[in-house]
Assembly symmetry: C2
Homo-oligomer: 570 residues x 2
């Protein structure tokens, strides 16, 4: 059996190695257009930033590894330039010799990845504008960043312009994962960074109020954020610098520009092979990674995947899923019955000292799908026992189904303990957990690592309080004209108070019930919603019409700005 | 309804607060024998060590909180000295006034905890010997440790002996959680520490080869470990120091001794009430925390719990379960149908820069129960992408059922990323995961936090390779007389080689098959078992009778010493 694998990173490399393990006799050819296979593309921003110092660290396995250890015919700088699905052949172009050869296959695996989007803007090909996809990309960025330092001032032969100083000002275009990682790494290198993002928030998979926490953290570190603005044009300026002109007409000077607008599945080969492309623009595959042509498989960033929670087709460029898909394609080619379960979108991104992570579905997506059978909660627990040094507040949003309590999604931001919680949620979603299961989860606890009631337990408890009717809840952005009760202590109000709210500290509440209206809905708040929950329990049992304002003052503070202005609570 | 809760820490405090939230009208009396309620007993070792500087940090909630915020009649220094289950009354002794009163109850909740075991040894009541249970215990230890620093040398009035110097030598008796936490904290304070443990390993819930990693780490930090030796006697020595005499006849001088031999459920009150005590010596309850008397509930360290995995009754003194049990007892008293699911034994302990964590069942326990339908694997993945700085090797042992792949237990040791992995395993066990589910788990990945294939995925893959028959495996301690093949590279052998093993580096294997015997079983090894897996795949398909030595040289290095000496591989 002859198997040709197109693309030697993540999905392709996983597929090749797995297939060799399953079938010692298979004739496996893996071709990669670029100079390297199996490199750590997720590490590129950190290599540009300097956290990963040596380029050689990025090579997980080399062409030699594949040849010697896996007996795989591995060819770099070799591109598929034609596919005949009818004849089951591919045309390969050797970029070193220029030679084109034809190779037959029994099974073909496409793992071409996704290409950075480069809109046809004026000036987009100017020197100093980079995308982040390959090791040579990273190398060129590093060289550009070192330029001013390594060369005398004066004429720079390679660009033909005057480089007076080392680049100091960067503009990153696009606030997705790669954009944010580049922002952080450029700041770490000492650059002044401006991030331009066309939409109203960074990190499109997040809900806006959680993205707000990320935005705050970036601003705190001196990043200039330009949301709701796109790039209209790039211009060359004096002394080999650039100007980024935005749709709103602003001009941002830049010594380096990073394009991280997003990626688009590479479907040229798929189109050549005549296989089906899905509505989202990715290669359509079944749960065994088989395309519409049964002899052609596709894996990785180029394919559409089923969202594990919603069942919708989606494009998700993540390394973990790509690796698992490569493995599954190999299994199926080797005659096994492996199946891909869909993608949960579990992801994490370092934002300076913090991390933002997500798994499952967002409120945004649920709303887009017209879903109404869900509820959301916000909570702000400590990352570990508050009495042990180093505890940091986590900000968590959790989404669950109202009808049966099924966990739908979670978003967590904080400086400590984020991966631990998002992985618990990720495992829970995979296994179809309800919020009642989260209440009972037995997670590890010692003072340096957690709490007797872990934040994950707390999420279950808060959500269950709502579904059991123990804690009616409302949200700042849809609170309406209710009576507002603030149960915090007076010193807390001195820091930030809510105009028009009645303050009754929780310990005094039972004695002061007569101050509360019986004919109006009462919305209770405190710092995070916990004491407001206690107050809600008291008032509910005393016959009041009461709701807890989800997430208290903390949720109010990072609610999306448009939601905040529409709040009646303020 | 009048509810009396006996014990105001963890389980008792949780129960009281939850009951108030559920029933604003209940008459709740919570009594605590000691001076404080709701204190962080898990934090006591860290307070002694100084990581938690202020004693006040340990008070999660005070008597005043319970009275004011929860309207609970909370009485400290108040002990239950009698129970009449027939009359439904308790006799309360006020330790301040000495007064004894009788209080009726409708429901009684016992949360007395477990008491440190103090064997009737000669000298056990000498000054300088401490147990770690309460805030006053910690305070006395701190005072004792500061003694030499704060007092002039000469006669010490309180003990009547000469204290010349600040304590420098500590002996900790017992190597369970509290013992280990005390060892670490005393080392952090600058003391020379000896740990005496009667059994052959520290941390009894762990399997010995994993405990071995903990032992190594302690030894590396200068702790003197005395395993397989118990305390026979304590003696007073010169200048207010002590001598600890062990069963083997050794003498260990000590300026302070910590007794952490273990705990025993406090069942005096239960016996007084005539309720059933289980075979393990704890109060027997049903899954609603009800004792054999339907009006008496019990929670926390005093009860026996069902092991979530084995279904066996066991004693597990952990804060998380105690809190959940308190909550469930309150639910049931308030008329709800909550049920406790059993205890998984999820736990974690900091060992200097490392952590050891566990969830589910150990091999030891499975063997004790006569279970044979299980397999174990060892793996040593990086805590996050190896190319990103700071990655540390994790040592993982994972147990699963052979017949259906169900995950049974996991033990993880390492300096980074331990809580993240153990919580994924804990959630997986709770939800009845199989190792096939672990293969497909989508956990968070970015270079600082994980790998595209997370260690949890790896565990699933290795286990599935075994169950699918792709990788026959054997263990160092039961390897028998097989032909040993080492597929590492020669430089690795220079560091540590195995006498009698044939070395064929993996890349050369396919070309050198003729050097291998076809009539004998071949056991393959490498550093961690991964290359040996690749070799196993090749040999298996080439018709050899081959097994991978689980965990490679790394597993061999920390196998229990008796197992190691019995190994044929060495």
């Amino acid at each position: 059996m002859k198997v040709i694998i197109v693309g030697g990173v993540a999905g392709g490399a996983s597929c090749a190695a797995r297939l060799r393990r399953l079938d010692e006799k298979a004739d496996i050819l893996m071709v990669e257009r670029g100079p390297y296979v199996s490199y750590a593309n997720c590490g590129l921003p950190y290599h540009v930033g300097g956290a990963i110092e040596k380029e050689s660290s990025l090579f997980v396995a080399t062409e030699a590894t594949f040849r010697q250890q896996f007996a795989i015919d591995c060819r770099t700088r070799c591109e598929v330039v034609g596919i005949s699905a009818h004849q089951k052949t591919v045309e390969l172009k050797n970029h070193v010799t220029g030679e084109i050869t034809t190779e037959p296959y029994d099974k073909l695996v496409l793992s071409p990845g996704a290409a950075p989007i480069r809109p046809p803007l004026e000036g987009i090909d100017l020197p100093g504008i980079f995308s982040v996809r390959t090791v040579p990309d990273a190398r060129q960025m590093r060289e550009w960043l070192e330029r001013g330092a390594t060369m005398p001032s004066g004429m720079d032969k390679s660009t033909g312009c005057q480089t007076m100083t080392k680049p100091q000002r960067a503009v990153v275009v696009g606030g997705g994962f790669i954009g944010l990682e580049m922002v952080e790494n450029l700041v770490q290198r000492g650059l002044e960074v401006t991030l331009i993002e066309q939409s109203a928030q960074v990190m499109p998979p997040l809900d806006p109020e959680m993205a707000n926490l990320v935005q705050r953290s970036m601003t705190k570190h001196g990043v200039r954020l330009e949301l709701n603005d796109g790039v209209a044009e790039f211009r060359e300026a004096d002394r080999c610098t650039l100007e980024v002109i935005t749709s709103s007409g602003r001009t941002h000077p830049a010594d380096i520009v990073i394009l991280a607008i997003g990626v688009r599945p590479e479907t040229t080969l798929a189109t050549m092979a005549g296989i089906e492309i899905g509505q989202r623009g990715g290669i359509r595959v079944d749960e065994q990674m088989r395309t519409s042509n049964p002899d052609i498989f596709a894996v990785g960033d180029a394919i559409e995947v089923k969202d594990f929670v919603t069942g919708q087709w989606s494009l998700v460029a993540l390394a973990g899923p790509a690796n698992r898909q490569g493995r599954i394609a190999a299994d199926v080619i080797a005659g096994r019955d492996s199946r891909y379960r869909g993608t949960q979108g579990t992801s994490i991104c370092q934002i300076f000292e913090a991390a933002i992570a997500q798994t499952g579905v967002s409120e945004k997506t649920l709303t887009r799908l017209g879903e109404t059978d869900f509820e959301k909660i916000y909570l702000y627990p400590n990352s570990h026992a508050g009495y042990y040094p180093g505890a940091k507040m986590l900000a968590m949003k959790v989404l669950f189904r109202k009808s049966d309590g099924r966990l739908l999604g979670a978003q967590v931001f904080g400086e400590d303990g984020v991966p631990k919680r998002i992985d618990s949620f990720a495992m829970a979603i995979q296994m179809g957990c309800t919020i009642y299961d989260l209440e009972e989860s037995e997670l590890c606890y010692a003072p340096p690592f957690g709490s007797a009631k872990d934040p994950v337990n707390f999420a279950g408890m808060v959500a269950a309080d709502i579904l059991r009717g123990d804690m009616p809840q409302c949200h700042w952005d849809s609170a309406g004209n209710a009576f507002l009760l603030d149960v915090r202590n007076p010193p807390e109000l001195a820091v930030e108070s809510i105009p028009g709210a009645l303050n009754i500290p929780l310990p005094e509440l039972r004695a002061r019930l007569s101050e509360l209206p019986r004919e109006r809905e009462i919305h209770v708040t405190c710092r995070s919603g916990q004491r407001a929950y206690y107050a809600t329990r008291i008032l509910l049992q005393e016959g009041f019409n009461v709701r807890n304002l989800a997430g208290g003052m903390l949720a109010r503070s990072h609610a999306a700005s448009d939601a905040r202005s529409g709040s009646s609570g303020g």
